[in-house]
C-alpha cells in the first residue's frame, strides 16, 4: 500500500489536505513568489535575452557616428554610410533610414502616418522578406512623378488598404504625392529602431549628396559579413571615418564611429529597469521561500514526535529527509501551478502598465520555455523549502520518545534557525520597501513639477506642412498664420503660439555651438546651447515671463535683422554681470550659420526631470527661420480638452492634408511622461507590500509560535511574579532583536538596490536618509505591532494552566 517515494508523495498530499491552515498560506505564498518571478522573467527574457526575430540576427548591427554634441542619439549621415559601404569588407550590407510623419489622404480626411524613408540596404540588412511583391531596390529612387513607390506593413495593408489581395500596383496619396504599392511586409515584421513606421518609401534624394554629410539624422542597420567579429567591423569603420575626417574636416572632423549589436542597442535603455525588476522579484521569491521554510520548520517541530516514531521504527535519516523534501516539492508544485496562472495574468498586467518604448514588449507571452523555467524555479523552490527542516533533523531529537514526551517544544538551535530566517525576511522586505520609498519620492518629485508657467488651460498639438504642397518657407509661414488666425477665432481661445519643440517645452532640438561676438572663441571652443524656433505669441501664450528686452514680433520677418530670445540660464552663464540684450551671436552649425542679435531674456522652463540642469537655451524667430513642422500652443479660458474637436475641424477647414498630431492638454502630456516612473514605482511597491506582509507575518508567526511553545517558561515567569508588562517587554525585546538584525542587513541591501535603481531616480539621492529612516520606522513599527498581539496573549496567560499543560 505504501512504497518509498510513492508513499512520501501520498503522505505529503494527505498532510497538505489535512492541514489547510498550514498548506493554503504556504501554497499561496509560493504561488505569489513563483508567479511574480515567472512573469517578470518572461518579460526580461523576451526583451533582453532572446534573439531578434530576424534571420541570423547575431550579425545585425547598428552604426553610430559619435561627436562632441551627439549625446545618446545613435545616428549617421547617409553620404558617410555610402562611403563606408563602398570600401568595407567586414560589412555585407548596410543602409540608413529615418521616419517622418506624412499625411495619408483618406475619404474622411487626412490621417498622419509614420513613413520610413530608407535606403534599400537598410531593410536588406534586416533580412525581411516581403509577404507580397518586393522590397525597395536601388532602382526605385530618387522618385520623380509617377515613379514613386512604397512598401507597406501588413497591418497598414489590412487597416488602410482593406487587405486587398490585388494591392500591388494600387496607389495612395502621401503629402499630396501619389505612391504605387510594390510590396507588403509580413505580419508582425518589426523593423528595429523604426518599429512605428507603417509605410516605407525610398530616399527622395541621392544618399551620397555631399551637402548632407553633416546631417546625422538617420538610423542605420547593417549585417556583418560571415565570420567577422564586432571588433573587426568597428576597427575597420573607424579607419574609414578617420579617412573621411581628413577628406572632409569641416563635416566629419571630430567625429568617430561605433558599431553596436542591434539587440543590445535596442534594449539598452530598458535594461536597467528590467534588471532592477528582476532583482526585486528575485527578492520576493527568496522571501516566499524563507516564509514557507519557516512554516515548514514550525510544522516540522510540531511533527517531531511523528518523525521520531518513524525513526524508531527503522526509517533512516535519508528516508525522513526525502519525506520532507517531497513535501516541499509538493507544496511548491501546487504553488508553481497556481503561480503559472498568476504569471500569465501578471504578464498581461505588466504589458498593460508598462511605458511605451520598451522594445518587443508586445510579444511577451508565457510560453513553453518560460514554463520550463517556471518548472525549474518550482523544483529549486521546493528543495529550498524542504531542505532547512531536513537539515534540522537530529538523532538526539529523534530519540526523545520515551517518558511520554510529545516533542512539541523547540530547542535553541531550531529557534535560532527560525530567528535567522525571520531576520532575513525582514531584511529582504526592507530592501524592497526602501526601493519603493525611493521610487515614490522620485515620482512625487515629478508630480511636483513646476515648470515656471501655468500648466492648466493649455492645449497643444504638432502639425506638419507637406513639402510637396508648401515647397517654400513663405508658403509654410502663411499657412501657420492662417492656422493662428483660425484658432484664435475659436470661442474660448485666449491666445495661440508656435514653437519647434514640445510637448513639455523644456529642452530643445539638440545642442548647437554658439559664438559670441567679441569673445574671440574659435569654433572648437564654442559651447553648445539648446535651440528652438518660436512664434511671436509663444511666450505670452505659454506664460513664460519676459525678464528683459522684448519677445518676437510679427515684424521680425525675413526682411528684418535676425533676432533671438534667450533664457535666464543662458544670460547668467554667458553674461553673469553684463547685459545680454543687444549682444550679437553666431550659430555656425545651423543652416546658413545665422548671426543674430539678442532682443530679450525670458524665464527658465524647469526641466521635467528635477536632477537635470537647466541648459542655456536660445529661441530664434520662426518668422525668420521657418520649418515645415511646428507645435501649436493654445491657451484657453475653459477646459482645453473640450476644444480638441474644434481644433481638428479648424485644421481640416484650412487644408484637408493637415493633421493635429499628439493633440492633448498639458495634463495629458505630463501624464504621458509619468507612465514609466509610475510603472516602476507601482511594480516595486507591489513587491514591497508583498515583501512587507510576508516579513511581518513571518515575525508574527514566529513570535506567536515561540510564545506558545514556551508557554511553560512564560507561565513559570508569571508564577514567579513577573508582571504582564515585563512579559510583554520580554517578548517584544525578542522581536526587536530580530528587527534590529534584519534592519541592519536590510539597510545594506537597500543601498545596493538603490544603486541598481539609480537611473530611474529623479531628484532623490540613492542613500536618501529620509527614505531609509522612514522605511525602517514603517517596517519596524509594523513588525513590533505584529509581535504585540502574541506578546499580550502571553502576558494574559493563566500561569497555573500553562504549567499544567507543559
Amino acid at each position: 500500500m505504501l512504497d518509498g517515494p510513492r508513499q512520501d508523495l501520498r503522505l505529503a498530499l494527505r498532510e497538505i489536505r489535512r492541514a489547510p491552515g498550514f498548506a493554503v498560506p504556504a501554497i499561496l505564498t509560493l504561488a505569489l513568489g513563483i508567479g511574480a518571478s515567472v512573469a517578470v522573467f518572461s518579460v526580461v527574457d523576451h526583451i533582453l535575452f532572446r534573439p531578434l526575430s530576424i534571420r541570423d540576427s547575431g550579425r545585425v548591427v547598428t552604426i553610430c557616428e559619435t561627436g562632441p554634441r551627439s549625446g545618446d542619439y545613435c545616428a549617421v549621415a547617409t553620404p558617410n554610410l555610402v562611403d563606408w559601404a563602398r570600401s568595407s569588407r567586414s560589412i555585407e550590407t548596410m543602409g540608413a533610414a529615418r521616419t517622418e510623419s506624412m499625411a495619408l489622404r483618406t475619404a474622411p480626411g487626412a490621417r498622419g502616418v509614420s513613413v520610413g524613408i530608407a535606403m534599400p540596404g537598410f531593410l536588406r540588412a534586416l533580412a525581411i522578406a516581403p509577404e507580397r511583391g518586393r522590397m525597395l531596390a536601388e532602382t526605385d529612387g530618387p522618385p520623380d512623378g509617377d515613379g514613386r513607390v512604397a512598401v507597406v506593413s501588413h497591418e497598414f495593408w489590412s487597416r488602410e488598404l482593406g487587405g486587398d489581395p490585388d494591392v500591388l500596383g494600387r496607389t495612395m496619396v502621401l503629402d499630396g504625392d501619389t505612391y504605387r504599392v510594390i510590396g507588403v511586409l509580413p505580419e508582425g515584421a518589426s523593423v528595429p529602431r523604426l518599429e512605428h513606421a507603417q509605410v516605407w518609401i525610398p530616399l527622395p534624394w541621392d544618399p551620397a549628396t555631399a551637402a548632407y554629410r553633416d546631417w546625422r539624422g538617420f538610423v542605420s542597420a547593417a549585417r556583418l559579413a560571415p565570420g567577422v567579429s564586432l571588433q573587426q567591423a568597428r576597427a575597420e569603420l573607424r579607419r574609414e571615418e578617420s579617412a573621411l575626417a581628413s577628406a572632409f574636416p569641416e563635416t566629419v572632423g571630430g567625429w568617430s564611429v561605433d558599431v553596436h549589436p542591434m539587440r543590445a542597442y535596442l534594449v539598452r535603455s530598458a535594461r536597467p529597469l528590467l534588471l532592477a525588476l528582476l532583482f526585486a522579484v528575485a527578492l520576493v521569491l527568496l522571501l516566499a521561500c524563507t516564509t514557507v521554510s519557516g512554516l515548514v520548520l514550525a510544522r516540522a517541530v510540531g511533527r517531531r514526535r511523528d518523525m521520531a516514531v518513524r525513526y524508531a521504527l527503522g526509517a533512516g535519516r535519508g528516508r525522513l529527509v526525502s519525506g520532507l523534501l517531497v513535501e516541499g516539492l509538493v507544496l511548491s508544485a501546487l504553488g508553481g501551478g497556481a503561480g503559472a496562472f498568476l504569471a500569465m495574468w501578471g504578464v498581461r498586467a505588466l504589458r498593460a502598465l508598462a511605458p511605451p518604448g520598451i522594445p518587443r514588449l508586445d510579444r511577451v507571452v508565457v510560453d513553453g520555455r518560460i514554463l520550463l523555467v517556471a518548472g525549474l524555479v518550482t523544483v529549486v523552490t521546493g528543495l529550498a523549502v524542504g531542505i532547512l527542516p531536513a537539515l534540522r533533523l537530529r538523532d538526539r531529537d529523534l530519540g526523545q520518545l520515551f517518558g511520554g514526551a510529545r516533542g512539541t517544544s523547540i530547542d535553541r538551535k531550531t529557534r535560532r534557525s527560525r530567528r535567522v530566517l525571520v531576520a532575513g525576511q525582514l531584511a529582504l522586505a526592507l530592501v524592497l520597501v526602501t526601493g519603493s520609498g525611493l521610487l515614490l519620492r522620485s515620482f512625487n518629485n515629478l508630480l511636483d513639477w513646476r515648470p515656471g508657467f501655468d500648466t492648466e488651460h493649455l492645449l497643444t498639438f504638432w502639425t506638419f506642412a507637406s513639402q510637396g504642397k508648401y515647397p517654400e518657407p513663405p508658403g509654410v509661414l502663411s499657412l501657420y498664420r492662417r492656422i493662428d488666425a483660425r484658432l484664435e477665432g475659436l470661442p474660448g481661445v485666449r491666445s495661440v503660439g508656435t514653437v519647434s519643440a514640445g510637448p513639455l517645452f523644456g529642452g530643445g532640438d539638440g545642442l548647437t555651438p554658439l559664438l559670441i561676438q567679441g569673445r574671440g572663441w574659435t569654433r572648437d571652443q564654442a559651447p553648445g546651447v539648446a535651440w528652438y524656433d518660436a512664434g511671436p505669441d509663444y511666450f505670452r501664450t505659454l506664460g513664460e515671463p519676459l525678464l528683459r528686452g522684448r519677445t518676437f514680433r510679427e515684424s521680425d520677418d525675413a526682411s528684418a535683422p535676425t533676432v533671438a530670445v534667450i533664457n535666464r540660464a543662458m544670460a547668467a552663464r554667458f553674461w553673469p554681470n553684463g547685459e545680454p540684450v543687444g549682444a550679437t551671436l553666431t550659430l555656425p552649425e545651423l543652416d546658413g550659420a545665422p548671426t543674430v542679435r539678442v532682443v530679450g531674456v525670458v524665464a527658465d522652463v524647469q526641466p521635467f526631470l528635477p536632477d537635470r540642469a537647466i541648459e542655456p537655451e536660445i529661441y530664434l524667430s520662426n518668422r525668420q527661420r521657418t520649418r515645415w513642422a511646428t507645435y501649436f500652443v493654445i491657451r484657453t479660458d475653459g477646459d482645453p480638452a473640450a476644444l480638441a474637436p474644434a481644433v481638428r475641424r479648424a485644421l481640416a477647414g484650412i487644408d484637408s492634408d493637415l493633421e493635429a498630431s499628439h493633440l492633448g492638454t498639458m495634463r495629458d502630456h505630463i501624464g504621458a511622461q509619468l507612465v514609466q516612473p509610475r510603472f516602476e514605482m507601482l511594480v516595486v511597491s507591489v513587491f514591497a507590500v508583498i515583501a512587507m506582509l510576508l516579513g511581518v507575518l513571518g515575525l508574527y508567526g514566529l513570535i506567536a509560535y515561540t510564545t506558545r511553545a514556551r508557554a511553560g517558561e512564560i507561565g513559570m515567569r508569571l508564577a514567579l511574579g513577573a508582571s504582564p508588562r515585563r512579559v510583554v517587554l520580554w517578548v517584544l525585546g525578542d522581536a526587536a532583536g530580530m528587527i534590529a538584525v534584519g534592519g541592519l542587513a536590510g539597510i545594506a541591501g537597500g543601498l545596493l538596490f538603490a544603486r541598481a535603481l539609480r537611473g530611474t531616480l529623479h531628484g532623490v539621492p540613492t542613500e536618501d536618509p529620509i527614505t531609509f529612516a522612514t522605511a525602517v520606522v514603517v517596517l519596524g513599527t509594523c513588525a513590533l505591532l505584529a509581535a504585540l498581539r502574541p506578546a499580550v496573549r502571553a502576558a494574559r496567560m493563566d500561569p497555573a494552566r500553562a504549567l499544567r499543560e507543559e
Partner: protein
C-alpha cells in the same frame, strides 16, 4: 523469533548461538550539556535471555529512559559493550542501527505515538514499508497483527477516532508486526485507565506466553507483577535484580504466605 541471520548481516557481524539475547557490559552514558557532565548510566551490566519478561523500575532521573534508548538503539553508550543476539551493536552507524531497530526491536510507548495522519492499517504497516517488503506480504502480516490485538475491524480509522486503550493496542500490533527479537515497552499503561491498562498488560502477557521477549519500564507495581524478573535502577546503576518465577509465587500464596511485590 529467530532472525539471527538477517540480524548479523545488518549488524555486520556474526551471531553466537549460545549467547544471551541481550548482554550489556560496563555500559556508561554521559551527557554533556553546556559544559556540565551528567552521568545517566554508570557501569550497567545486564543480560536478558530470549523469552524473558523483564520490568525496570526506579525513581525519576535514575536512567530508565536512557537505558531503554540504548537497548532500543536510539542512542549509543559512551562506554561499554552491548551485544544483541550475540552481535556487538554499541558502535554501529546510524543506518545500521536503523535497520536493526526496524527488523529486531519493537517499541511500545507511553504516549502510544501513533502517527495522526496515518490510519490504523498504515500505522501498523509503517515498519514493514521500511523493509521493502512486497505489498501482499505486508497486508497479510498487518492483518494478522491487528487480529492478534483485536483491532482488525478498525483498519480505516485514524488514531484520533480511537480510545486510548485501542490506540495502545494498535501500537502493540505495530510493535509485533515485524516479528522482533525483543519488545521494549515504556510505561505502556501510563496514559490508560485501569481497565485499559489491565487489558494491555494481558496482551503483553499473551505475547510473552507465545515466546516474546519483553523489557518494560513501569512505575506501577501491579503491572510489574506481570514480569518474571524485576530490576531496580538508582543513580544510573542497577541496584536490584530479582527473578520471580510465577510458579514459585503461586506456590507461596497457596501455602498462605503473603507475597510482597
Amino acid at each position: 523469533m529467530n532472525q539471527s541471520e538477517s540480524f548479523s548481516e545488518a549488524a555486520g557481524g556474526a551471531a553466537t548461538a549460545t549467547a544471551p539475547l541481550i548482554r550489556m557490559e560496563g555500559v556508561k552514558k554521559v551527557f554533556l550539556t553546556e559544559e556540565v557532565e551528567t552521568h545517566a548510566l554508570a557501569d550497567v551490566h545486564l543480560e536478558i535471555e530470549e523469552g524473558e519478561f523483564l520490568s525496570i523500575a526506579g525513581p525519576s532521573g535514575c536512567g530508565k529512559t536512557t537505558l531503554l534508548s540504548i537497548l532500543g538503539l536510539l542512542d549509543s553508550p559512551t562506554e561499554g559493550e552491548y551485544d544483541l543476539d550475540g552481535t556487538p551493536v554499541a558502535r554501529l552507524s546510524a543506518s545500521q542501527r536503523a535497520t536493526i531497530r526496524n527488523r529486531h526491536i519493537g517499541f511500545i510507548f507511553q504516549a502510544f505515538n501513533l502517527i495522526g495522519d496515518l490510519n490504523v492499517f498504515e500505522n501498523v504497516e509503517l515498519p514493514l514499508t521500511y523493509r521493502d517488503m512486497p505489498s501482499g506480504e505486508r497486508k497479510e502480516r498487518v492483518m494478522k497483527a491487528l487480529e492478534r490485538v483485536g483491532m482488525s475491524h478498525r483498519t480505516r480509522h485514524y488514531p484520533a477516532q480511537l480510545s486510548g486503550g485501542q490506540q495502545q493496542r494498535v501500537a502493540v500490533a505495530r510493535a509485533v508486526v515485524g516479528d522482533p527479537l525483543i519488545l521494549l515497552a515504556d510505561e505502556p499503561t501510563g496514559n490508560l485507565d485501569s481497565t485499559n491498562g489491565e487489558a494491555v498488560m494481558e496482551l503483553l502477557n499473551e505475547l510473552h506466553s507465545d515466546g516474546a521477549t519483553i523489557c518494560m519500564v513501569t512505575h506501577d507495581p501491579r503491572y510489574a507483577e506481570y514480569a518474571e524478573r524485576q530490576i531496580h535502577l538508582f543513580d544510573g546503576q542497577i541496584v536490584e535484580d530479582r527473578v520471580r518465577s510465577p510458579e514459585v509465587i503461586e506456590e507461596l500464596r497457596e501455602s498462605g504466605y503473603e507475597v510482597e511485590l
